[in-house]
Structures are given as structure tokens and as C-alpha cells.
């Protein structure tokens, strides 16, 4: 122990200084061990950063293109002969024409486009050209006609989504070479797409639909969006916040400030820590058994997801809350009690406000963890194909919805390659939400935390 101070003093001196200190073998060995340890640390951090960048890089590389999308603007003649044969404009009769009946209108719109000498590829019929447009197109047309039956017989300008393969062509996923082998797209269609782009009919724009649209079937990956998943995740977070925060805080205040210290509270304490380490899938099984099979709550509903995630988040919140309650110095409590405050007044007027930033931070981190949780949701039917938006709360809590992480899982299993891009895009959205939540937690801590 004696050479500790001497070696420390010698460290800043370079080889040029005329120190009288001669390091003995033992000191050199210990210094070498220290620098080796530092090296290991640097290597560990370098590996971690490299892994992080590789992960972020691949997600951004694959997913950023999902925020851009090819759109085609067409003038569609809403042919009364096809949509309203009797000319009565009777909504019920117009509604009888299914989405499949609207597809010829788009082909007809291409036929008019082909009158332009600049546009048209030999051997490509208007019907095949219409395949440039997403299958969502006829559905959009039908919605529009049902909302504005007076427009039948007029020519209306529409902005359609381009089909997944055409969209992929401008994102490098589809090339002329692969189009030759691909059953779903032909090189002629790609040539036509290039002509349309030249003419300004086809444009690549920011894809707001990715955030607002509902999920779509495998026939139209270009129309798939995260709207239902974002709303579903949001509803679940509301449920978690409304349940986990009050229960968690009440439990921790009682355990920390009021409960007697005996073996029962010891057991509770140990179990709370254990609960935090329970694999999340277990909560899913529990949720399926209790909330769906026993309590009869509906499947795929945000309320069940929220309840399951509440169980999962509770230990995190309780542990964080107890830690921040413990961090409030006893002198605060003593002073409050000393001037005649009751125990409850001391806790609620003095201790809790001081612990609040820590509690909020813990809660937000718990919520962020719950937001990214997938496994328990798979068991309670949240992995379903849900296309209708849930209604406003409180009824909306019982409507079927998806959730962000399960939407990612869902999309990676689809066969159309366009969904790979969508899945990575969904990961980006999820990560942005997590980053925002963590940033709020950091700001709260910085702003309001008091140190003693």
C-alpha cells in the first residue's frame, strides 16, 4: 500500500522529467494491469457502439424509404353506365357496385392518357397499365363516389398510390432485370412508369399515409400504414398510465413510509423484485387466462393489452418510486413531523413532491418498456389483421386494435418484399416514440430533481 501515492504522483511526469522515482516491478505490473483494463473498456464500448450503429444503420437503410411513396395523378371519368345504370343516383344501388366494378374506370383513365403521343409502351394494354395503380385505388374511388354521388358523370382528378412493385422500382427494390422474372410486374410497365414520371404524372412524395392509414392485405402493401397500431399503442399506454401509476405509487408509499418492517413486508419486497424479472410472456399467459377466458374481456382489445402491460410495468414503477422516496433525506420528514405535521401530511406535502421527478422518470421508462413489449400481446390476439380504427375512448378500449411492436412482427411474416421496408419503417416510428419518451424523462429529471 505504501507505493500507491508515489506511483500516483509519478504518473503525470513524462520521460523527460528528471524524476528520482524508479518504479519497481510491482508498480509497473499494477500500472500495466490498469492500462489493460482501460483498453478492455474502450474495446467493449467500441463493440457496443459498432453494434448500435450497425443496427441503426440497417434499420434506417431498409426503413427510411417507407416514408416516401410513388403517387400517380389520373383524371378518372366516373362513368354513369358502370356506376349508376338507372341514373337514379340511388345510394343503395350505387353501393351495389363493388370495388371490383371500379377497376375498369382506372383502365379507361389510362386509355385517355395513351392518347398523348408521348405516353404509351408498345404491347401494353390499358388494362395492364392499370396495374400500375394500387388495388387500393378502386376502393378509394368507391368511397369517393359513395360520399359524392352527384359527381357521377364528371371527370375527377385523383391521386392514387402506385402499386408496390412500381414503388419498389423507384426505391431500387425492383429493376428491369428482376421485372423480367417477376410475375407481378413487367418491364413494359416500368417503362410506362418512367414515361409517366417524365410527364409529371407519377411523383415520389412524403408518405403521410404510412402514419395514418390502417393495415392492408398482402395484395396492396403500398397501402399499409401504422394508423391503427399507433392508436392501439396509445390507448394501451393510457390504460397503463391510469392504472400502473396510482397503484404503483400508492403501493410504494405504503411500503416505504407506513408499513411496519417485518417478515411479511420483506417477502413482498423480494417478490416485487422477482416480479420485475419475470419473462413478459408469462404476463401474456396470465392475461389470456384471467382477462379473456375468465373475465370475458374481448380479444385483440387495447384494454386487455393495457391491463397485461400494467402488470408488467408495476414492479418497475414500484422499484423506481421506492428508490426516489428513499432518496429524500430523513431530515425533511423529521422537520415536518417536528413542527406538528401528521405522518400523512409529512409524506404528501413534503416527501412526495420532492420524490415526484424520480417517480415520473421511473414511470416514463416503465411506459417506454411497455410500449416496445411484444411477447405478451401475441397471446391476447393483438397480432391480428385489424383494419378498422378503434372508436374514441372509453368504448375504443374494447374495440380490436393492433400495437406498434406486433405490427412489426406481423409485417416481417408477409411474403411480399415491400413489407420488409414497411416493417423497418415501423421500427423507426417505434424508436422515435421511445426516444421522445426517454428524452422527456431526462428533461424532467434535469429540471426538477433536487440533490442533497
Amino acid at each position: 500500500m505504501t507505493d500507491l501515492s508515489t506511483s500516483g504522483a509519478a504518473a503525470p511526469r513524462g520521460p523527460h522529467s528528471s524524476s528520482l522515482l524508479v518504479q519497481d516491478a510491482n508498480t509497473r505490473k499494477r500500472n500495466a494491469a490498469e492500462s489493460r483494463f482501460r483498453l478492455y473498456g474502450v474495446i467493449a464500448i467500441a463493440i457496443a457502439i459498432l453494434a448500435l450503429f450497425a443496427l441503426l444503420g440497417s434499420i434506417l437503410y431498409n426503413g427510411s424509404s417507407s416514408f416516401r411513396q410513388a403517387f400517380v395523378v389520373l383524371d378518372v371519368y366516373l362513368d354513369p353506365a358502370k356506376l349508376d345504370k338507372d341514373g337514379t343516383r340511388d345510394l343503395e344501388k350505387i353501393a351495389k357496385v363493388s370495388t371490383f366494378g371500379y377497376a375498369p374506370l382506372i383502365a379507361a383513365a389510362f386509355e385517355t392518357k395513351f392518347e398523348d403521343p408521348e405516353i404509351g409502351v408498345e404491347g401494353l394494354s390499358a388494362k395492364n397499365a392499370a396495374k400500375l395503380i394500387s388495388k387500393e385505388g378502386p376502393a378509394e374511388l368507391r368511397r369517393y363516389v359513395l360520399a359524392n354521388p352527384d359527381m357521377i358523370g364528371e371527370t375527377v382528378q385523383f391521386e392514387f398510390l402506385a402499386s408496390g412493385r412500381i414503388d419498389g422500382y423507384y426505391k431500387g427494390r425492383v429493376t428491369m432485370e428482376t421485372a423480367k422474372l417477376d410475375k407481378n410486374v413487367s418491364p413494359e410497365q416500368l417503362q410506362l412508369a418512367d414515361q409517366l414520371k417524365e410527364a409529371g404524372v407519377l411523383a415520389i412524395k412524403f408518405n403521410t399515409g404510412f402514419l395514418t392509414r390502417a393495415d392492408a392485405s398482402e395484395n396492396r402493401p403500398e397501402a399499409a400504414g401504422l394508423g391503427v397500431a399507433i392508436l392501439g399503442s396509445f390507448y394501451m399506454m393510457i390504460v397503463v398510465l391510469c392504472l400502473a401509476l396510482p397503484i404503483g405509487v400508492a403501493a410504494s408509499i405504503y411500503l416505504e413510509e407506513f408499513a411496519p418492517k417485518n417478515w411479511i413486508t420483506d417477502i413482498i419486497e423480494v417478490n416485487i423484485s422477482n416480479l420485475a424479472a419475470v419473462p413478459s410472456i408469462v404476463f401474456g399467459i396470465l392475461g389470456l387466462a384471467i382477462f379473456i377466458n375468465f373475465a370475458g374481456l374481448p380479444q385483440s382489445a387495447p384494454i386487455v393489452g393495457g391491463l397485461v402491460l400494467t402488470l408488467m410495468t408495476l414492479p418497475t414503477i414500484i422499484i423506481a418510486t421506492r428508490a426516489s422516496l428513499k432518496a429524500v433525506p430523513p431530515s425533511i420528514r423529521d422537520a415536518a413531523l417536528g413542527i406538528g405535521a401528521s405522518k400523512m401530511q409529512a409524506v404528501f406535502h413534503h416527501v412526495l413532491p420532492l420524490a415526484a421527478p424520480g417517480i415520473l422518470t421511473g414511470t416514463i421508462i416503465g411506459l417506454a418498456q411497455a410500449l416496445g413489449e411484444t411477447a405478451p400481446l401475441l397471446l391476447i390476439g393483438m397480432v391480428a389483421f385489424v383494419r378498422d380504427f378503434p372508436s374514441a375512448p372509453p368504448e375504443g378500449f374494447f374495440d380490436p386494435a393492433a400495437a406498434l411492436p406486433v405490427q412489426v412482427y406481423n409485417w416481417t411474416q408477409r411474403s411480399d418484399p415491400a413489407f420488409v421496408e414497411r416493417a423497418s419503417g415501423a421500427i423507426i416510428v417505434l424508436m422515435v416514440f421511445l426516444l421522445i419518451m426517454n428524452a422527456i424523462a431526462i428533461v424532467l429529471r434535469r429540471r426538477f430533481e433536487r440533490r442533497w
Partner: protein, 342 residues
């Protein structure tokens, strides 16, 4: 704090009241991941063209879907189970014990199973016997059953390329594996004479036919076809087993092999020339008809010519439409429950 408490108690009250009075107005479907894409296409079109909400469709596997359907009658059980294999007697018994007595069996069409390699690899012309000789644990050599030591496809059949045998086949929990076992391995077992040999050894049902070698040339994929494709991209020498619709969506990455000289296509499967195919079903709980709004309309819509016919969107996606669709339509319209399994 009081605000939070108020919200929490309000939520709890809402939860309790809604539990007692919740009426489900959307159809719930679960089951086979092979049928899932077709079911979502139909659900999407149904939601667009009818005044009913879009059905909620879940995957999870054929067996899991049938079990869920058999959990009982009531709004918190599903209405329809998708299945890529026929319902089993054990499912029917489970259903009956939970009060689900009448089930409608609806065959929506056929699905082909294709064998494909990397697009840049060699071409393959397979017969079931080739697959049996490549993957089975024991093969016939000079009239005797011996351990399989074939290393390359050329060892199996001189007409095939001298490429190491490596096959990604569906795991045992998949419905696809059952078809692979029956239509490829058992067929190959029979044609090579190994079945006779097994029977001669006292294995009455020739169970040895579906025993695969365990030295790593056949790899079970428990995930879905996207995983098989990813593994294939990493190992361009390998051969993967896919559904026809998956292949049709990835024709730019995969080269399909013929089986018994027949190229798999919706046509060759419809005519029955291509041997490795199977029917796809969904099962409807009859007790829910008339209770869940839109259920009858949904199943009518599913089997209509517009959807399941040869020019419909399902066929465009890769379903081989059923030549006997008209019969199915009649059956669905009449609401005939299935009889006992034969």
C-alpha cells in the same frame, strides 16, 4: 393525485360495465398462416364493400385456430378457424365437449407446395423418389434398407447436378409438413420399394418412411416462408420448400423445380397433374350464424366467384381455385353442417 385516482376508478367502472354489456359486432377469425393472406384479402374487400366492420383475422397455425374455435360458444370465442389441413376427430370431440356441435366445413381452394432454389443456381428436375433418397434416414440399396449416405444430388440421381444436399423443409408444427410427408416422402418411399421393405420388417404402417436423416442435410424451419427464403439466400446451394403463393410473389429470387416432370402452377395444380398440393379450409361455428352480424355474408362473399373464382383476387395471389366451387357456394348458402369424418 385525485385526478389520477378519479380516472383510474372511472376506467375500472367502465371496464366492469362493458364486460357485462359488450356486444361484438366484428367477425373474428384465427388459424393457419397459409390461409391468413387469403383471409386478409377477403376481409379487406368485405369491409370495403359491405356495411359491416372489417373482420379481425389472426394467424397462429391451423391446429391452434381449430382449438380456439372449439373453446366454446359465445362472443368471446372466435367464429371461424382457418385451416390448411382437414379438421381432426380430436378437434371435433373437443368442440363437442365444449358445446360446439355444428361446424361448417368450407373448402376455399387448393395450395401447391413448391421446391425452389436460388435464382442463380442450377435447375432441378425432381421426383418424389429423389427426395426420399436424399432425405430419408434409410434408403434401399441393392434390395436392402441401409443408412442413407448420399452426399450430393448426383448421388441420388445421376441426372441431377452434383450439388451438396441441403434442404430447408417446414417444421413438424406446420400443416405443410404433413403434405410433404404424405405426398413426397411416402410417395418416394413407395416407388423406391422401401415401403415394402419396412412392411416386411414388421413396420405395418411403414412409419419409417417419414423418418428423416439427422446428419444436418435436412433442416426443419419452424418459422414461416420468409425465414426459409432468408436461409436460402444465405445458402444458395440449398433447396427450400415454399407455398405456391409465396413463390409467385418472389419469382425474381427463386427458381422453381419440377416434380415428376410437372412445373407447379395454378393450372397444373387445378388439374391435379402436379402432385404436391392440398386443399385449404375454413371452419365456421354454426351457432354464431345470425348472432355475429355479417358472418353469413362474409362466408358467402368468401366463396363467391368474384373472390374465390379463377379470375378473383385470391387466384391472382396464388390460390388454386376449386373446380367444385359452385357446390361449396350452395352448401354455404344452405348452411349445411359437416358430417362425421370419413
Amino acid at each position: 393525485m385525485s385526478f389520477v385516482k378519479l380516472t383510474a376508478s372511472a376506467l375500472a367502472i367502465a371496464a366492469v360495465s362493458a364486460t357485462t354489456a359488450s356486444a361484438r359486432d366484428q367477425i373474428q377469425v384465427a388459424g393457419s398462416s397459409t390461409v391468413l393472406p387469403y383471409a386478409t384479402i377477403v376481409a379487406e374487400a368485405f369491409g370495403e364493400n359491405f356495411d359491416f366492420p372489417t373482420p379481425v383475422v389472426e394467424g397462429g397455425g391451423s391446429g391452434a385456430g381449430r382449438k380456439k374455435m372449439c373453446e366454446g360458444v359465445g362472443e368471446n370465442t372466435i367464429d371461424i378457424a382457418d385451416s390448411s389441413s382437414r379438421i381432426k376427430q380430436s378437434d371435433i370431440d373437443l368442440c363437442a365437449s365444449n358445446g360446439v356441435n355444428e361446424i361448417m366445413e368450407v373448402r376455399i381452394g387448393y395450395d401447391g407446395i413448391v421446391f425452389a432454389s436460388d435464382i442463380n443456381g442450377a435447375e432441378f428436375v425432381f421426383t418424389p423418389a429423389d427426395w426420399y433418397n436424399a432425405l430419408a434416414a434409410k434408403v434401399m440399396v441393392d434390395g436392402k434398407l441401409v443408412d442413407n449416405t448420399n452426399k450430393t444430388w448426383a448421388d441420388v440421381n445421376a441426372a441431377l447436378p452434383a450439388q451438396d444436399i441441403l434442404a430447408f423443409i417446414p417444421g413438424t408444427k406446420h400443416g405443410t409438413r404433413e403434405v410433404f410427408d404424405v405426398k413426397v416422402l411416402e410417395a418416394g418411399c413407395e416407388s423406391t420399394g422401401a415401403e415394402e421393405a419396412y412392411k416386411a420388417m414388421g413396420d405395418e404402417k411403414a412409419k419409417g418412411c417419414t423418418a428423416l436423416r439427422t446428419d444436418g442435410v435436412s433442416i426443419d424451419i419452424d418459422g414461416d416462408y420468409t425465414e426459409t427464403l432468408a436461409r436460402l439466400t444465405a445458402n444458395p446451394q440449398a433447396i427450400g420448400v415454399f407455398g405456391l403463393s409465396f413463390y409467385e410473389n418472389n419469382t425474381d429470387k427463386l427458381r422453381v423445380a419440377t416434380m415428376g416432370g410437372i412445373v407447379p402452377s395454378t393450372e397444373s395444380i387445378a388439374t391435379g397433374e402436379y402432385p404436391v398440393s392440398r386443399p385449404l379450409f375454413f371452419y365456421v361455428k354454426k351457432a354464431h350464424l345470425g348472432v355475429i352480424p355479417g358472418l353469413q355474408e362474409y362466408i358467402d362473399f368468401f366463396v363467391s366467384d368474384e373472390i374465390a373464382g379463377p379470375d378473383g383476387p385470391l387466384a391472382a395471389y396464388g390460390l388454386v381455385s376449386d373446380p367444385e366451387l359452385a357446390k361449396t357456394q350452395e352448401m354455404v348458402a344452405a348452411g349445411t353442417a359437416m358430417g362425421p369424418l370419413n
